[in-house]
Amino acid sequence: MIEVNSISFRYRQEWVLQDVSFRMEKGEFVGVIGPNGSGKTTLLKMLYRLLSPQKGEILFELVPMKKMGRTDIAKRIAVVAQETQLLFPFSVLETVLMGRSPYLGQLMFESEKDLEIAKKAMEWTETLSFSDRAMDELSGGERKRVFIARALAQEPEVILLDEPTANLDIHHQMDFLDLILTLNREKGLTILMASHDMNIASEFCDRLLLLQGGRIYKIGTPDEVITKENIARVYGCEVWVDQNPFSGMPRINLMKKGVREEDETLGRD
């Protein structure tokens, strides 16, 4: 579905992304992980062409993205990125209806059909009950769900998520990720999520892409990517990796300084 062919990108001098290539199939849930400044957000911005690579190209269903129109991209790829400050807040419903924008073209007003689609999106995300509230009256978790509703109103094939669980407590993190997983499994949406939380990425994603300094260090299943060695090489810190006893997925355990040395003996176990 998405084919990234050795793209490189730089803002000024330094390359932020170098020779990155990977493919995503329809219906996949892929996580992008890596340290601060490894190029996660930049990669996401390439995938909806906020930025274009200086080298290489990105194909969306075999069509080069630079040949697609802005609205074509917005009809197929939705983005839930880090939030910007709300200056004059719109209502929840108004925000979700903005997701219909790529379909309106020159039209000034949304139709009944657009309203129906927005309502459905709000049912999925359980935001319908507070549709008339202003966006700045919502909690962080509610606001995130509204932006997912807006993304669904775009009727996309792909949703790109940038650090979606940052600033959410674990309850809202779980709710949010369950919703994303449902959309992935039941609606067949292709998901790409950049995240700092490797345990979440390991638990929810089919495949992981580990970035280091703008290059792909490792790509594969969570089992292949999240290992003690890879983490040590990419992040430069010692962690203990075991398995989540319920899901069997790799799990990262952080330890404080004194405990870390004992880990050596455990490791030889």
Partner: protein
């Protein structure tokens, strides 16, 4: 569920248009020469259908050639400043933005002052044309320096505007310091905003620019909503952001240029009218732009009527009234309605 529909925009626009008509009617009956209200209105309506029955020749001249053109001019300027203020607030994502923020007004002032000092203001259109030219030149310079690699970065543009504005202010102060006493009075009144420079022909010159600019902005009002939510959001939703921004910035600047060139720097209208309307009707530009235009027009006509009657026969600059009435009213709105979050 509350959504913005064409019907809603139309209904509110019609209601506000009625308000505007009412304000115009009240305005033409008031002035230092007393013409009874009903006779004034009869004069107006009879002239519309082409009759000449009511009133004396003098009364007809006062109503039709002096008060009515002045009210219409104030209406266009009030509408223009309000709409361009709303647009600048959205484009710069800054609640303190107003039509003068990019220095266009300072350019207009320099043009006007040069015209006054050279004696051009004695020609009927010398003053507005010179100040319009000054404003247009300023727009060119600000956009030349404010864009980078063909893109508009709001902060860069803002900085370019503010700095060029300061430079022009220095010029203004220089001109004021070398000007004679009679010229000084004209200059100061122009700087405070004054419709006594207005003529019927001035309307014909500025209304195409204001109408065209407002129309262009209205066509982009849905995209302006998305830009208000953040430029990256707008890109995510398929908006060609750079193109829309360029069109909107230029339209808003052109409206400002046309407005200030006929009546000087009327402060406050472009700042408080958009905020007031937004506080009551919400931030959606599809409703905000027409409503702000109609409310702004009514407000400025009413202010100008006060300005020319309150100390009659002496006329005050209208800017004095807009600030004196607008400021407290805006504070009242801020206190009673939901406060603008970032202000």
């Amino acid at each position: 569920m509350k959504i913005i529909t064409f019907k809603k925009v139309l209904t509110i626009s019609i209601l506000l248009s009625l308000l505007l008509v009412l304000v115009i009617l009240v305005s033409i009956t008031m002035g230092s020469v007393k013409v009874p209200p009903f006779r004034s209105i009869r004069i107006l309506f009879q002239s519309i259908v082409g009759l000449k029955g009511a009133g004396s020749e003098t009364e007809r001249t006062i109503i039709l050639s002096l008060r009515l053109p002045r009210a219409i001019l104030a209406g266009f300027v009030g509408a223009g400043l309000s709409v361009s203020g709303a647009a600048f607030q959205a484009l710069l994502r800054n609640p303190l933005a107003d039509p003068y923020i990019l220095g266009v007004s300072s350019g207009a002032a320099v043009g006007a002052i040069i015209a006054i000092l050279l004696g051009l203001s004695t020609f009927s259109l010398g003053l507005p044309l010179a100040s319009f030219l000054g404003a247009l030149l300023t727009i060119l310079v600000v956009f030349y320096f404010g864009r980078q690699e063909g893109k508009i970065h709001p902060n860069t543009l803002l900085l370019a505007g503010v700095i060029i504005g300061s430079f022009l202010s220095a010029l203004i102060m220089f001109f004021i310091s070398i000007s004679q006493k009679e010229e000084l009075h004209t200059i100061i009144f122009w700087l405070m905003g004054d419709f006594s420079f207005a003529s019927a022909r001035a309307i014909l010159i500025i209304f195409p620019y204001i109408l065209f600019g407002v129309f262009l902005l209205y066509l982009r009002s849905r995209q302006l909503n998305l830009i208000l939510s953040g430029e990256e959001h707008a890109v995510q939703l398929g908006v060609d952001v750079e193109r829309v921004k360029l069109i909107c910035y230029l339209s808003a600047s052109l409206i400002t240029a046309a407005s200030v060139s006929v009546c000087g720097l009327i402060g406050f209208v472009g700042l408080i009218i958009p905020h007031s309307v937004r506080l009551i009707l919400g931030p959606d530009h599809r409703l905000l732009i027409p409503s702000a235009a109609l409310v702004g027009a009514s407000f400025l006509i009413a202010s100008d009527t006060f300005a020319r009657t309150i100390l009659s026969p002496t006329e005050l600059p209208v800017g004095v009234i807009t600030a004196a009435f607008g400021g407290p009213f805006f504070i009242y709105l801020l206190r009673t309605r939901k406060v603008v979050k970032t202000l």
